[in-house]
């Protein structure tokens, strides 16, 4: 009985491990990664058009591919994994075991995070290989990629947390729609703040301001410290460490909040 507490991480890891395994045995994921790698490779051809700026082109197009395909993957795995467990009723088996509902959600989310991490690492490695093939880049270039890859990874973690929340109460199609919707709004978040300052009505201003702070601010992950992250990596401008720390803290807090919401919704559910 005294070992009961120490079993919590074991259970969460078991669920996370199975989530990861489910993802890597899914062929659709490989197709998306393959597409991303093809995009990255095609930057060699495009680089030919930009005399002397080949490595910039590769990094620019490469990181954009990581971001775009990463987001697709994040939405795709986030919306379906919890829903699938409910739809196929495997959740009945798991929750009839000594598993708390919060452990299930945390395990699922960790499994998703690990899947995304592996994806980002594979795609970033693809960029590095492309740069090596192109031949004009040294180790300094590779180091430049890391902060940008990390910030992209944080944005993917946030996207998949949003998808996870929706998948606890909605179908995959609707969850995808909601997630995409918030992802788009999140990129134009700054406009909300501007709207709040411009509007005459105090109430509308207050609502716009609340929305600005409540909605996930995805633009934070593309423009950091008033500089585009991908451009900064491409143009060899070093990122400010404190800005990276700030966005990391923002991402962690926001993801933590979303996972909490997912847990609350999931814990109240009846499994009919």
């Amino acid at each position: 009985m005294g070992r009961r507490g120490s079993d919590v991480p074991m259970r969460i890891l078991a669920i996370a491990r199975n989530t990861f395994r489910e993802n890597i045995r899914d062929k659709i994921l490989y197709n998306l990664i393959l597409f991303a790698l093809i995009m990255i490779l095609s930057s060699i051809a495009l680089g030919q058009l930009t005399l002397g700026l080949e490595s910039k082109m590769i990094i620019d197009l490469g990181l954009t591919s990581v971001s775009v395909f990463g987001t697709l993957i994040a939405i795709f795995i986030g919306i379906s994994l919890v829903y699938k467990e409910m739809e196929k009723r495997t959740v009945y088996v798991l929750l009839a075991k000594p598993v708390h509902r919060w452990e299930f959600i945390v395990g699922k989310y960790l499994g998703l995070l690990f899947t995304l991490l592996v994806n980002v690492v594979i795609m970033t490695f693809g960029i590095v290989l492309t740069l090596l093939y192109q031949g004009s880049s040294g180790p300094a270039t590779f180091v430049r990629l890391l902060p940008a890859a990390w910030v992209i990874y944080l944005s993917l973690a946030l996207t998949t947390a949003l998808a996870l929340v929706f998948s606890t109460f909605s179908t995959p199609a609707l969850s995808a729609l909601f997630t995409l919707f918030l992802w788009i709004i999140g990129h134009f978040n700054a406009d909300l703040l501007q709207f709040a300052t411009l509007t005459q009505s105090a109430t509308v201003g207050w609502v716009a301001k609340t929305l600005y702070y409540a909605l996930p601010n995805f633009s934070n992950f593309t423009i950091l410290d008033s500089r585009n992250i991908i451009q900064s990596a491409a143009h060899a401008q070093p990122m400010d460490a404190s800005a990276i720390l700030w966005i990391t803290a923002y991402g962690l807090v926001y993801c933590g909040g979303l996972v909490t919401v997912a847990i609350v919704v999931f814990s109240r559910r009846d499994f009919k």
Binding site: R21, T90, Y92, L94, A96, K97
Partner: protein, 313 residues
Amino acid sequence: MIEIRNLTKDFRVGFWKNRPVRALDDLSLDVHKGDVFGFLGPNGAGKTTTLKLLMGLLRATSGSAHILGEPVESVSMRRRIGFLPENPYFYDYLTPEELLTYIGRLFGIRQPALGKKVRSLLERVGLAEVGRLQLRKFSKGMVQRIGIAQAIINDPEVVFLDEPMSGLDPLGRREVREVIVSLKEQGVTVFFSSHILPDVEVLCDRVAILRKGRLQAVGALEEILSMKIEAHEIILTRVKPQDANQLKSMCDALTVIGDRLHLRASSSKQVQAVLAYALANDAELISVNPVRPSLEDYFLREVGSGRDGAPRQ
């Protein structure tokens, strides 16, 4: 072992989820230690709802249920029970070994004990040969067996099986029956829902019958069926035609099947007279069997009769 008190569950249906439909109505039930308990009822009677309430997958509208002295919401209690859902599906990208290892970890079983446990379970349910084949290639009977294996991986004190025989061929049903018998021999309490009556008749110490969410009857099978012998069936062969007519007048009913005569005699006097006459006239006796009402008869009488009427009290 299992105590259910006034358990009630309403589902809200309709577009605005404002119309309650009662799936389970004021169920009270006790299951004793070591019993094989059959939970019977037609489809839609509330059997699966009850099991989901017991597993904490649904929350009761009112009433309570305890398993092993702990409320059903208790997560730690689930260390001591096992559950097989109806028509189970398991991750089809896993192999039986991987699935059982995963489930074992949820119980905190560690290697190397876990590996040993998984192998012995696969052996026990007859899947040792296919331990490394993905579950997507499994037949329904094999999936059901892996389902039973995952339900008993923690050596539970109580096992809940939701329709464990449904959709299985006769061989598969016999295998499931054998597992239930062996669990009983180990002193495990088994609670299973079913609508396959012969299995229930063979296996269960006690049964409960549910209809439209309400308990119709509960108790030992003999009590419910009032196992009084209604009549005897005597089967004879090599009976001369003129004797057959004579025999017919001596008993309640006579049926000819092939070269055999099936006679139904309701009193022991009739039985003696028929036997004496038949043997004196060179007929050959095949068998004499008491006729009891079967669970099926009961089921049809109790459940079928009131199908559209008010529930019987």
